[in-house]
Symmetry: C2
Subunit: 92 residues, 2 copies
């Protein structure tokens, strides 16, 4: 697996954790609220899991935020990637 992929999962995980703590919830409460398993939520927060679209939507709505919020922090990483790809497009 590429390094960037690990980063993406880690960034999303950290964001989930941050928002969860901000909302004053335990993993137990949040996991129950959005219908996923607590141990799996733990993996998501740790950045070792690769959650699906529906899981992320469930997390976002249970946290009371828009899905975009989960991706908020890797703007820089993402923009770098986009720049690289745009570059590649231009030069080929």
């Amino acid at each position: 697996m590429k390094q960037s992929e690990i980063d993406f999962k880690k960034v999303v995980g950290k964001q989930v954790k941050k928002l969860r703590l901000k909302a004053g919830m335990t993993q137990d409460v949040l996991s129950e609220r959005c219908g996923i398993y607590r141990t799996y939520l733990s993996r998501v927060e740790a950045g070792s899991a690769n959650p699906t679209l529906l899981v992320m939507i469930a997390l976002a709505t249970s946290l009371g935020v828009h899905v975009c919020e989960l991706f908020h922090d890797f703007d820089d990483t993402a923009n770098d990637l986009i720049a690289t790809l745009t570059d590649r497009q231009r030069t080929q």
Copy 2:
């Protein structure tokens, strides 16, 4: 499966398709560029697939947009959901 879940996948799929056409790519080109199979991309666009975080990031970067763009259109649906959940929090 709940109706709302189908909607979410459909909305994301439509957004991918819209952005792909806007970039003037065929499914074949986009799928190759982000390393997923064309027929699977077709299912994602149709809203029948439930893509993972890494797939969506690959799609977004290959399309040259931020991941948030993929969720752009279901602001209303999402906000309704959040409102419902916030309500539930308040009343329990």
